[in-house]
């Protein structure tokens, strides 16, 4: 099958959906002639024109609200927030409005919009361009939160998100943009709320999100040489969460390590640990649920410090080995 990058897969999903459905449009900063800060929408202005590629000045709150309003009357906007850090500026419209309008109006309306945003560190952009806020949005009933980790997944999940009748926070990782993988040319949906086993294994389950899925897979390849067989589970959608697949995997392996880039305190790992602890999988656990996550600091500039702030492959190897060898 044809291989394209994660970034190209995002662009292809948007392009195909815009060709299919005239209600779909893009709104964001520098998404037109500039092509988006990461070049995701490069070339789309030529194809769709200014009527459907709405380039805005620096107005995160305004442009997000504009997406909410357009969705409220039946359009299907895709808003791009250039860096997830700037969703702080957009959150009033996302959290107070988009997430609540349907419920608050007793079901009279819906808000079918997607807010795409790149998250994560590793680019040397430091404190204001490197954060991972997914759990803030997971905490809001009414939002869906998607975190795709492969070119194949990102296309199918974005198509599903655009077609979904609810506001979806679609979190891309900057370091994944250039990764390549097999992606069908035709349109396909990957249902929201379905996890994916990225690697089957029997000794322990790593549940990872975002870029940590790729890092965990790399760690698993190293550990198999030591005879430790790791299952890597990618939830893909954080809300709604595929609890069933998680419980099934943990029951099979009896050990679970949760890995995410976001800061550990208040992070999604706590939610995952809670879900497992409350479930029937609890009785199958052979060791405590462990978390490996971002350190309790803002993302610093210095290369070594930046790396040390979030889990790296070697950290995962070490933690997973420790857990695999743990006898309780």
């Amino acid at each position: 099958m044809r291989e394209i990058t994660y970034l190209e897969a995002v662009r292809e999903a948007m392009t195909q959906e815009m060709e299919r459905d005239s209600r779909v449009f893009l709104i964001g900063e520098d998404i037109g002639v500039y092509g988006g800060a990461f070049q995701v929408s490069y070339g789309m202005l030529e194809k769709f024109g200014h009527e459907r590629i709405l380039d805005t000045p620096i107005t995160e709150l305004g442009l997000t609200g504009a997406a909410v309003g357009a969705a409220l009357i039946g359009m299907r906007p895709i808003a791009e927030i250039m860096f997830m850090d700037f969703t702080t500026l957009a959150s009033e419209q996302l959290v107070n409005q988009a997430a609540k309008l349907r419920f608050m109006f007793g079901g009279q309306s819906s808000v079918p919009m997607v807010l795409r945003t790149p998250a994560g560190s590793g680019t040397g952009a430091a404190e204001h361009h490197s954060q991972s806020f997914e759990n803030w949005f997971v905490h809001v009933p009414g939002l869906k939160v998607v975190m795709p980790t492969t070119p194949y997944d990102v296309k199918g999940l974005l198509i599903s998100s655009i077609r979904d009748n609810n506001p979806v926070v679609f979190i891309e990782h900057k370091l994944l943009y250039k990764t390549k993988g097999e992606v069908p040319e035709e349109m396909y949906e990957i249902p929201l709320g379905k996890a994916d086993i990225k690697r089957e294994g029997k000794d322990l389950t790593i549940i990872a999100t975002g870029i940590m899925v790729q890092k965990s897979l790399a760690a698993a390849e190293k550990l198999i040489k030591e005879g430790i067989d790791i299952e890597v589970l990618d939830p893909r959608t954080l809300r709604p969460l595929d609890t069933e697949s998680i419980v099934k995997s943990v029951k099979k392996t009896g050990k679970v390590l949760i890995v995410h880039e976001a800061v550990k305190t208040g992070g999604f790992g706590g939610e995952l640990a809670g879900v497992i602890a409350e479930s029937e999988a609890f009785g199958y656990l052979d060791a405590p649920i462990l978390r490996l996550a971002g350190r309790e600091v803002p993302i610093p500039y210095n290369r070594d410090l930046e790396k040390a702030a979030v889990p790296q492959v070697e950290d995962i190897v070490q933690k997973a080995r420790e857990l695999a060898n743990l006898k309780v």
């Binding site: 005239s22 209600r23 449009f25 709104i27 009527e51 709405l54 805005t56 000045p57 107005t59 709150l61 305004g62 442009l63 997000t64 609200g65 504009a66 997406a67 909410v68 309003g69 357009a70 969705a71 409220l72 009357i73 039946g74 359009m75 906007p77 009033e92 419209q93 107070n96 409005q97 309008l101 349907r102 419920f103 608050m104 109006f105 007793g106 079901g107 009279q108 309306s109 819906s110 808000v111 079918p112 009933p141 009414g142 869906k144 009748n165 609810n166």
Partner: protein, 321 residues
């Protein structure tokens, strides 16, 4: 522009319905029949009704937290509206929204909003959507003087002009954002001046207690928006007789000031106009008033007899299928 008798009757009835709704809301609260809070628009009736009288039924409004008058002006069913105010299952929002969130989407009312300035960014997007749909519809976006100082307002003005949306932004300047006087940071003329600064042709301010003046100004802006001339900003100068909400002790203004504004009652002003233009006699106006209060009384009876939502349904409707 001279009103027809039919229109005069209709606006008079709506003015009294709003006044009566607000008075009933207050009474129901005092009697302990409803909980929460409310934001009453007594004294601001001409702004809501004058503005919305310029719309076609297929047009839209989006409102603010003091939105009962807007809702009635857009033609809401009073029973469903009162039922929502009472938190009942058959209210507009199934009792989930209450006073601050009443919406009548089918009727073109895209909702009141509990966040000051919360509706303004959405208004731009609704305008973008209306333009794309190209069905010749317009939106009136209401907010207060308090919202005019928010970043949401200023970002939205910029985007509205950039995308030339068919939206008329209407600032109902009732002089106070809770306790903060609009005169302490601007004057209403300065709020309206933002329209010009941002490049909106049809911007102006009105005596917001004069239904005819409001109607004429908004009509021009609506016509402009409908003909592709882009957005306008209109400031209707008015006054809220009651406190901001139920917690207000009126410490920031004097009783004399309130009395002065009561002399400029928009309903009495409209009655005087109708009388002078021989559209309605005093007797006819009184009959309309009685009708307005009777309509609200019927809505109260309907609401109080309506069922509460079942607790088992709590988690319904968070997500669309």
């Amino acid at each position: 522009m001279k009103l027809s008798k039919e229109n005069a009757e209709h606006y008079m009835l709506q003015m009294y319905q709003v006044r009566a709704f607000e008075e009933q809301a207050e009474k129901s609260y005092m009697a302990g029949k409803i909980h929460g809070t409310m934001h009453l628009s007594i004294g601001q009736e001409a702004s809501a009704i004058g503005s919305i009288s310029t719309l076609e039924p297929t047009d839209f409004i989006i409102g603010h937290h003091r939105g009962h008058g807007l809702c009635i002006a857009k033609g809401a069913d009073l029973n469903l509206m009162m039922a929502e105010f009472y938190g009942k299952e058959n209210g507009y929002c199934r009792g989930r929204g209450g006073s601050m969130h009443i919406a009548d989407v089918a009727g073109g009312n895209l909702g009141a909003n509990g966040v000051v300035g919360g509706g303004i960014p959405m208004a731009v997007g609704i305008g973008i959507g209306l333009k794309m749909k190209a069905e010749n519809q317009v939106l009136l976006a209401f907010f207060g003087d308090g919202a005019a100082s928010t970043g949401a307002f200023h970002e939205s003005m910029i985007l509205a002009v950039l995308f030339q949306v068919p939206v008329v932004f209407i600032c109902e300047n009732n002089q106070y954002a809770m306790s903060f006087s609009a005169n302490d940071w601007t004057t209403s003329k300065k709020i309206a001046a933002h329209g010009e600064i941002y490049g909106m042709a049809g911007s102006c301010s009105t005596d917001g207690n004069d239904l005819l003046e409001v109607k004429n100004a908004v009509k021009k802006a609506v016509d402009l928006a409908r003909s592709g001339g882009g957005p306008s900003l209109i400031v209707n100068d008015t006054y809220r007789w009651r406190g901001h909400s139920k917690s207000d002790r009126n410490r920031y203004r004097t009783a004399e000031e309130i009395e002065e504004w009561k002399k400029k009652d928009p309903i009495l002003k409209f009655r005087a106009y109708c009388n002078k233009e021989k559209l309605l006699t005093e007797k006819e106006a009184d009959q309309i008033k009685e009708q307005g209060y009777a309509d609200i009384e019927a809505a109260r009876v309907f609401a109080e007899a309506s069922p509460d939502p079942k607790v088992e349904t709590l988690e319904e409707g968070v997500y669309a299928p």
